[in-house]
Amino acid sequence: MLVYLLRRLVVAFCVCLAVSVLSFALIFLAGDPAIAIAGSGGSARDAEAVRIAYGFDRPFAVQYLDWIGHVLTGDLGRSIYFNMPVTEIIGSRLPVTLVLGGLAFLAALAVALPLGILAALKPEGALDRAALLLAVTGQAVPSFWLGLMAIVVFGVWTGWVPISGLASWQGYILPVAVLAFSAMPAMMRITRSGMIEVLGSDYVRTARAKGLPAGQVILSHALRNAVLPLVSLAAVQLGVLLSGSIVIESVFAINGLGRLAWESLLRADLPVVQAIILILSAVYVLLTTAGDLLNAWLDPRIRGAG
């Protein structure tokens, strides 16, 4: 287990390093970041001033090492637009996105797990077909459009929920539901296929043959093995939810990390964009590593083979 743990941690560290280089290099796509920051109305002298102030005149490697050195000490740079430390701005926006993503994740899990199990009990049955239809729809509907339509129906026509913002708890209902609907299908499908496979195995047949109640066989014998693939996927989906909330936050006018990233892009506030990409990637690496370790703890076979 210790060897497996160390291997996973080394890989996670290397991926974080690669991601940091990429998120730093991204701003050079603009050709010259100094001109991008100075804006379309900026003169050549403005761009030159920006270039010197932000050190864009130095070699790329020097700039990167300077940046990553500060990042490692918890300093993500200064926002050009707010003229405040990026850490402070992100600190005030991150909790909103975490709550939104976390709630959506729980909601998706609460629907996907029971639905996947029930669908697996009678493959090709009516419930299975309905679940499949729901999953296919969930994967085809663009979440921003679903959000807008939900606003029209539940906010404007019926007036059940506020149409934007998170001032009251009702404000969470639509964004969480829409986000959950996009994450649910994959989780439901993997639960279903895992359950179908496990329910057909010999040990489940034995457990049934010796007269154990069906509920106990399904929940304690079968589910434990069927959720293994779900654990890995769940980690991925949580990461996807956090970065996917960028669209939903814009639709529902929620001041989270995603909206901050989008607005920062529009006003060429590049240090903020870099920092958010870095943070979201690091969170994703953290989640998937945790998912793998959890799987290894649940299933001894992985530890040995890893």
């Binding site: 991926v15 029209v152 970065s243 989008w262 529009l266 990637s281 998937t288």
Partner: protein, 287 residues
């Protein structure tokens, strides 16, 4: 899984599968819409008429018969714009898989066939790519490189190759030790010839399924990016952009967003149905 002893002719199997038939028909309709847009569209999709702004579609009382599906906030014919919008979606879908398929299949084949260090490096690159938040990175890249249809296709193509790589790696691994590959090696065939002439054709079933998945993915991402104002540029008719433009009138004229969104759903659903159906036909494992 053992292949069934008797396989019906392909055409019958295709027609017997509702998903493939339905998805294929809708996709064909979309392709026809995109190809023949100039002849199908009743009016010029870019012609503005500020005296006829936000006219409602035909089921409303004050509809104008000249504009079957109404007009947008600049008085442009909505039906014509919807028809032209199919061009953007399909161009992005097709363009992106050409780029991402080339990258992903090359990496995956190399990783699965050679194994060892090559495999480790490719796996690491795939893991790194998966860690990047795709919507945000695509947004940033398009914003910084300058929004246009070709930038969009290039950026999404450079981001969406991971599934191609994973699937072709697995396929190459399982084919590598098969007799026909060993035979090719024995008669002195080069690695490139084995990879692209022997292995690649043998994994087309799995790759077609990934292709449909990624087409759907790319179409949805283009719509989301255009919706956020960082996809295709303004006068162009993209369904995502039309939803963004109709957003201000959402309170009184929800059909402005319902129509392009509905088409988007139908197209993505069709591509997904086609993919699911083809997976069943080619005997791949359902996930």
């Amino acid at each position: 899984m053992a292949a069934p002893a008797y396989r019906r002719p392909l055409l019958y199997r295709v027609l017997g599968n509702t998903g493939v038939t339905l998805g294929g028909l809708v996709l064909l309709a979309a392709v026809a819409m995109a190809l023949f847009a100039p002849w199908l569209a009743p009016q010029d999709p870019y012609a503005q008429d500020l005296t006829a702004r936000v006219l409602p579609p035909f089921w409303h009382d004050r509809a104008d018969p000249a504009h079957l599906l109404g007009t947008d906030h600049l008085g442009r014919d909505y039906l014509s714009r919807l028809i032209y919008g199919a061009r953007v979606s399909l161009a992005v879908g097709l363009g992106v898989i050409l780029v991402s398929g080339t990258i992903g299949i090359t990496l995956g084949l190399a990783a699965g066939y050679f194994g060892g260090t090559v495999d480790m490096i490719v796996s690491f690159v795939v893991t790194t790519r998966l860690s990047l938040p795709i919507v945000l990175v695509a947004l940033a890249a398009v914003a910084l490189a300058g929004a246009s249809l070709s930038t969009l296709i290039a950026v999404l193509g450079l981001l969406l190759w991971d599934r191609f790589a994973v699937v072709s790696r697995a396929a190459a691994q399982s084919l590598r030790s098969r007799d026909f590959v060993k035979g090719m090696r024995a008669i002195g065939a080069g690695h490139l010839r084995i990879l692209f002439l022997e292995l690649l054709p043998n994994m087309r079933g799995a790759l077609i399924v990934v292709m449909t998945l990624e087409v759907a993915n790319a179409i949805l991402l283009e719509a989301a990016l255009s919706f956020l104002g960082l996809g295709v540029r303004a006068p162009m008719a993209s369904w995502g952009l039309m939803i963004a433009e109709g957003r201000e009138n959402i309170l009184f004229d929800p059909w402005l967003i319902a129509l392009p969104g509905g088409l988007l759903c139908a197209l993505v659903l069709a591509v997904n149905l086609l993919g699911d159906g083809l997976r069943d036909l080619t005997g791949g494992k359902a996930k």
